[in-house]
């Protein structure tokens, strides 16, 4: 059932989270979470609502700072990871809310924050809109996404198209790690299949992948490795081939299954 895990030529992790703890006010969202992300490996991040999945993803993309612990990008320990630094390193994320600018077109959204520059004049960087449009179009076409009009504000597009734009933006810059937060939650059957196929294609290029999903069918369909979070702690971290649905569910919910996780 699982896609074969490609053996990485270089087994060093691309990104490492070491002993991450994060509080929101008095609430502990993550406690002492460590995770090594390997090139080409698809990690499914599962857990109940409030287990800390999205928090972990947002820490790895630089939106949240951990209260304790550190993030390693390759061999470098990064004290203060911000979204720009994360993107420069090649970490991209498709957030559950998509984070699109509704007032901008698809091309502008795909190229946001990395607009090609035609000319610099003092502090001003003049955009090369033609190149931006061409690059966005090529990339979107390469994903097999059906989207002709890249200029109309994306607020006028359908949910599936908006999702495609968010994915296109993330895959364009992700050469180290790409994270998908609930990528298929809003999609129909056909689009879900296409998205999962895309996740596998991205991983096949040697990019580390994190997928948050509540759908265990999706998880077992694509994941090489399954990490379960429960109440902010890792309750399971195993290769997908060495676990079962029952064990995953048990670790997500804390219901006894063999081992006691409570």
């Amino acid at each position: 059932m699982n896609a074969p895990m490609p053996m990485p030529a270089n087994p060093t992790p691309v990104v490492r989270a070491v002993g991450i703890t994060r509080y929101f006010g008095g609430v502990r969202a993550l406690e002492n979470v460590s995770l090594d992300l390997m090139p080409g490996q698809i990690v499914a991040l599962v857990g109940d609502n409030g287990a800390g999945k999205t928090t972990l993803v947002k820490i790895l993309s630089g939106i949240y700072q951990p209260d304790e612990g550190s993030i390693w990008l390759g061999d470098t320990e990064v004290r203060h990871l911000d979204p720009r630094r994360a993107r420069e390193f090649g970490i991209e994320t498709v957030y559950q809310q998509l984070f699109l600018c509704d007032n901008l077109g698809a091309a502008a959204n795909v190229m946001l924050g990395r607009e090609p520059v035609r000319r610099r004049l003092g502090p001003f960087r003049f955009m090369d809109n033609k190149r931006a449009l061409r690059e966005a179009r090529e990339h979107v076409a390469g994903l097999g996404v059906d989207l002709d009009d890249l200029i109309t504000p994306v607020r006028r597009l359908s949910g599936g198209q908006r999702q495609a734009i968010a994915i296109a933006r993330a895959t364009l810059g992700a050469h180290r790690l790409i994270q998908f937060d609930e990528p298929t939650a809003a999609l129909g059957i056909r689009q879900t299949r296409a998205t999962l196929a895309l996740v596998e294609r991205v991983a096949a290029q040697g990019i580390a992948v994190i997928v948050i999903s509540h759908n265990l069918d999706d998880v077992f369909a694509v994941a090489h490795r399954i990490v379960a979070l429960r109440l902010g702690c890792i309750s399971l971290d195993t290769l997908a081939s060495q676990t079962t649905r029952e064990q995953v569910v048990a670790c997500m919910t804390g219901m006894a299954f063999g081992k006691d996780h409570s």
Partner: protein, 333 residues
């Protein structure tokens, strides 16, 4: 259709909304000239341009701010502080330093607002409503509430100088207006202002430096207000702490009439400039036709409300049209 003069003009102006403003402006000029034929003259155009240039300069900065989802209500008080400070300093320092100090003070006041808006996550309307009162209070305090006396004559040079017969405030507006248009429309900085105004979280997740954007746009806005105030004080030969009362309302009205969405993320400098000119023409036109100038207030306010209402109605109509197309498409397939 694609190459009709109307379409060409619409493209040049950057959208149908601006075409509407342009047409309204032409209509207004036509109406006024019917009642008052002497209105259409180079000399009068210069007078009107001079009148609007002070609001025009400030509206450039306010357009940037509102596009990025912020606003600064304290610009009228900044205007007063910059004007009286420049006039007071001109009594002690070389006048050129006094002019520069007025502009720098504007930038500093804007930056203070920006820092507070960034740090205190409550509406910029509330923060700058507070500084509106504070800055006005300071302007009144440092002048004891009176106009500044004994300003050297040379202070007036900057505002009264002309370049090729055009007064400096108009030159400043034209040059800075073009720069603002280019920056907003064609640079990554401009794009990021739109992105930030459209969806702040999305912009920051994409690595855009929100703090830099907010602080810079507030400081730039303040500098433009300072420039406007220094030019006005200089032309006037002095300044009073009551300068610029209600200035922010005129500026924001022009910016919104110019098609900048108050919620951020939409707008163009061309639209704002057309609106600034239109409001100036309404003002001076009503006076020159002999209508009670108090009506100018009514007409300007009505123009703003009608424009915003038209925007809303057009949007709703487009929405209905798209819906109809989608339904037809489904039925066809």
């Amino acid at each position: 259709m694609k190459n009709s003069p109307g379409a060409l003009l619409s493209r040049m102006l950057g959208g149908g909304r601006n075409l509407g403003l342009f047409t309204t402006l032409l209509l207004a000029l036509l109406l006024i000239s019917l009642f008052s034929p002497q209105y259409l003259s180079i000399d009068n155009a210069m007078v009107v341009a001079l009148q609007v240039s002070f609001i025009g300069l400030a509206s450039l900065g306010t357009a940037f701010l509102i596009v990025s989802g912020n606003v600064d209500l304290s610009i009228g008080s900044q205007y007063a502080m910059c004007a009286v400070s420049a006039a007071l300093l001109a009594k002690q320092l070389p006048v050129s330093l006094a002019w520069l100090a007025g502009i720098a003070l504007g930038a500093a006041l804007g930056l203070i607002n920006g820092l507070m808006v960034w740090r205190i996550s409550i509406s910029p309307i509330i923060v700058t409503l507070g500084t509106l009162t504070i800055f006005r209070g300071i302007a009144l305090r440092i002048t004891n509430g009176f106009g500044v006396r004994g300003v050297p004559k040379s202070f007036s040079w900057l505002g009264e100088a002309t370049f090729l017969g055009v007064p400096t405030p108009i030159c400043a507006l034209v040059i800075l207006g073009i720069v603002a248009h280019l920056v907003l429309q064609y640079t990554t900085q401009g794009r990021h202002l739109f992105a930030f105004g459209g969806n702040r979280q999305a912009a920051e997740a994409a690595g855009i430096n929100g703090k830099g954007l907010v602080l810079t746009s507030f400081a730039l806005n303040g500098a433009l207000v300072g420039l406007s105030a220094v030019l006005a004080a200089s032309r006037f030969g002095t300044a009073a702490p009551t300068f610029g009362v209600g200035f922010e309302l005129d500026v924001i009205a022009a910016v919104i009439l110019g098609g900048v969405a108050f919620t951020g993320g939409e707008g163009s400098i061309i639209g704002v400039m057309l609106a600034v000119i239109l409001l100036g023409v309404i003002n001076s036109g009503l006076i020159s036709t002999g209508i009670d100038p108090h009506y100018a207030q009514v007409v300007k306010g009505a123009a703003l409300v009608i424009a915003v209402a038209l925007d809303q109605l057009t949007q709703e109509q487009q929405e209905r049209h798209r819906k109809k197309l989608a339904v037809l498409e489904r039925a066809g397939s």
